[in-house]
Symmetry: C2
Subunit: 152 residues, 2 copies
């Protein structure tokens, strides 16, 4: 058991690297409960032909399977990229306690960059710690897209 | 092939009824391409212990499987309830052309009721027809929650 948020973000980064190796946009996520990682996932959109399988959605799904309940009270989610509207929506529904994210997403980010759905007057809200290991999380994405452009 | 939007909403309502028979909040959805229903789904949150399996998410996933692509250009989605932030987020990502919904959701609705993510300045937007067969869609939900309250 560790209480160092960076160690969980490093686990999420490992997931993101696994996504990149499949040609998927490198985003990774883990769900933590009582200091233990109970689920880990990465983006699988291209592999699965499924726009809904962002890292966060899969990590939330797997955490629910593990706990035998969709209610993730007492859990924290660590994700390398600022969640989009779909993913922050799922985070709110899941009742997760805290969201940690790394890089900001100017295009689709919905937890500060374009608007903030984490606390927007809906019946649910989530505590947010943003920019954790931002540089590492963001570099991985920049390198991925640069390599993709080079391949053309 | 039919071009009557109500016939598709009736198919979504049948899905919603199937959800109710499982004790799931009765919401159903179908995806239509060239007049043909290519996927149909209903809410499965309690059954699957998975907060992400709202009707829309499953209908989008199954449409992607059927088409072998996550890109749902040229498709329309019919759903009995106004999408929440997660579901309108998925709809935007999927590039669906048009969203038809029935009942309004004052609590979590994100396509007019609380805010409108269908056209909010993000790089994607979707055309929306709201309130189609609102009464039928809404009655099903009201009856479900009344019956639940009676059972205690």
């Amino acid at each position: 058991m560790t209480n160092d948020p960076k160690s969980y973000m490093r686990a999420a980064l490992k997931q993101a690297e696994a996504a990149a190796s499949l040609g998927e946009v490198p985003v990774g996520a883990v769900v933590v409960k009582n200091g233990e990682i109970i689920s880990a996932a990465h983006n699988l959109v291209e592999t699965n032909h499924d726009v809904t399988v962002h890292a966060e959605i899969l990590a939330i799904r797997r955490a629910g399977e593990k706990l035998g309940s969709w209610r993730l009270d007492g859990c924290e989610l660590f994700v390398t990229l600022e969640p989009c509207p779909m993913c922050i929506g799922a985070i709110l529904l899941s009742r997760l306690d805290t969201l940690y994210f790394g890089a900001y997403d100017e295009k689709f980010g919905a937890v500060g960059s374009n608007f903030n759905l984490a606390d927007s007057g809906l019946p649910r809200a989530v505590k947010v710690i943003s920019g954790l290991m931002e540089e590492e999380c963001s570099s991985l994405l920049t390198e991925f897209f640069e390599a993709k452009r080079r391949r053309g």
